[in-house]
Amino acid sequence: MGYPHKSHPQETPVLSKHFGDPAARTLEGWKARGGYTALAQALTMAPTAIQDVVKASGLRGRGGAGFPTGLKWSFMKLEDGKPHYLCCNADESEPGTFKDREIMRWTPHALIEGVAIGAYAIGAETAYIYIRGEFSEPIRVMEAALAEARAAGVIGPNAMGSGKRIDIWVHKGAGAYICGEETALMNSIEGKRGNPRIKPPFPAVSGLFGQPTTINNVETLTAVPHILNNGAEWYKGMCLSSPKSTGSKLFSVCGNVAKPGNYEVVLGFPFKDFLYDLCGGPPAGRKFKAIIPGGSSVPVITIEEAEQVRMDYEGFLEVGTMLGSGGVIIFDDAQSMPRQLARLARFYAHESCAQCTQCREGTAWMTRILERIVAGQGTFEDLDTIFDLSESMTGKTICVLSDSCAAPVVSGIKKFRGEFEALITGRRSSTVAVGV
């Protein structure tokens, strides 16, 4: 539901049903809303049986990559005699994305239940919820809920009387976008600088503390109890377009839009209806111009492209972008795309961990060029340099941070070249109504 707005009739509130309701935050309140029945059931099942249900549901990772969750869990060798770990990625730092924050603020026990089930399903006795350091309020809410769950024996050495140990701890980050990258997150928990690791080895072989590890996003894990409660078929049935994209998904909507907020719809929902009906269209007197639909790291699309899209993994791919984290950033016709993209590039330059040359130099160079263009001192060669640069920034580094900088910038120049040329030649651009 579109917290802070009232739920729209076309939304399907599964994860967001209790957003805005403080009574859902307590253990008692959560149990009264059907909480922890899925965990109780899970603890009577074989871990592989849980993996199978999640596989059959079609649930895919909600953090950005869209990897099938059940399949990821099945990479963990259950009888290898090693300690296993589950990491819950709550480092939500992707510009445009603010859904995990609401899940943790309003329904902390929903996440705890999902984490506990996930841990059990991969043979882990310990799980860490890595929350970005800026999220003081979600951290307080999660810590309080975890203390309650521990005191009640829901988690701990004998979770729900099952004889199984499931410890869950919050690990607070300290300001670093890159720690949302899975191996950087593991380094950060280990008390290291948050540099991504070279893969392979993949986390399921050697992850946190060198042991087999699975890492899942907050929203992904929060969906799991619903799947166990209602069955894989129910989840799979929530599908409006591609059968490869199932379930409901939270979309965070921000930028130039009448009603920013979180909205939960079934995958495959028409983006046009979403933008104009649920989100209320553009601000008064303005028109939508461009959208980055999956968090800032995915290519920009024009409003004309957006209006044709079905909101699922495949639908966004068809127009050359990605569903990503579901962070929808909207720019209206008063915004200068060169200025916005220069600011985004600056974000990536600031957040580069600086391990790889292509990223450290590329993000900073790209930022300097874009800022020069915005200042009216760019040349046409600058645009070619950006395209050349983007090739060395894509697919050549340890992680995808530099790719994520290049994607919106390159697509933005291709689709709004007129605005860049206008700044270079000093003429007015036809696609900016007001602004720079």
Partner: protein, 181 residues
Amino acid sequence: MSHGPSAPAHGHGHGGDAAPYVPVFTEGSARRRELADLITRYPSKRAALLPALWMVQQDRGWISEDAMREIGEQLDCTAAYVKGVVTFYTMYHQHPVGRHFIQVCTTSPCLCAGADDVVKAFLEHTGCKELGLTSPDGKYTVIEVECLGACGFATPVQINEDYVECVTPEKVPGILAALGD
């Protein structure tokens, strides 16, 4: 992930005439027990490093080189190692900051909503001459910060621990007044 404040304006850093460092994790202290308890959550002592740094910052407001040495001794790593970690993460202060540390999000979604004007309003009403410099009364430090993850509530501003959402330039004087001293 802040654009960390620059070096202190008026030498209230770790000067030669500074008082001797008082350890945080002294034998028998609550912080020592808290750290020992934290270490049990991890198979490696070093994993308690980020939490230990947070404790020091909470108690002292910033993390000095002496504090880095003390934490290193507690967790069996060198002061240089601790410094390497401190400098990676933008939220750890390597020198004192104002009592109210104000971080205005200016990443693209907030830029659309006019975050630039919010930054200007904070600079104007706090008396901070520029980003990263503490006001002469030691009360405020204002910086720009990268995405706070509250883009639907543009412009979010983090003041010490807490977020203030949907900030506009007009709201700034009221927000500052509510902070008190």
